[in-house]
Amino acid sequence: MLSEQDEADLLARFAQGDLHAAQALTDLLAPRLLRFATRMLGDRSEAEDVTQDTMLRLWRMAPDWEAGQAKPSTWAFRVARNLCTDRLRRRKPMVPEMPDLPDDAAGADARMMQTARAQALDAALAQLPDRQREAVILRHIEGLSNPEIAAILMVGVEAVESLTARGKRKLTALLSGRKEELGYDAEDT
């Protein structure tokens, strides 16, 4: 994961016309935004639209980006979250779609198992309250720090800690019954 300075440098280079910096930022941010939006919206094509829209806003904002502002990735997650919230307000919740998995996995069995695990995770995440789901995704899947999540969710760091702890507990409870079914051997723990 790049530091705040590295991300800001890439953005500054893009603003000066460096398309390679745009490629690096896209490879860095877009997959994470897509995962986040897919889990928030439960709809892959909508998530792709949100990801593209978020990146477009990042490109437009690049010339005005000032050093010392929030990390570009934090800013992007906040925009993506707002776009997801807008879309969720406009429609009823849907059953989450399972994200695509890479084709180069070891074998068909491993791929299927990985798919089933991701599916189980998504189904469990869908049962969490919105704020807990956002906090757990950002903390435990996207690896953001608590202060970054606090900036994205616009709450205090203590609130983030509480949301992630409660969300994680609930998620563990939801998934614990599926460990053996999904290839995790509890006896080996």
Partner: protein
Amino acid sequence: MTQKIPDDDLSLFLEAGKQQELPDALRTRILADAEMCLAKQTASGWRLVLRDWARGWAMPSVAGGVGATLAGLYLGLVMPLSMYDAPIWMDSALGVFETVTAPIVGVQDPLELGF
């Protein structure tokens, strides 16, 4: 197939949840947007430079230059020259020139000045 569980039961599920790649089509669309934004920024950059240049000194200079030229021609050529002394070919041109220039220079009627 079995697999050893790490301390955190959840972590393998979470690990599985991280396996999502960016589709090539979406990546292409995002980079096309980036390219379009760069092109727009470059274009608007030139527009801004031209606008600042025009607002800064170019427009007042051009306006001043045109005004000074008209005034110079009027005062140096049209006013001293009686319409009757002007060559025929210049007559109507001077008439038009005077009609246009006199109000700009601030003289309504050349006869007021005694010519």
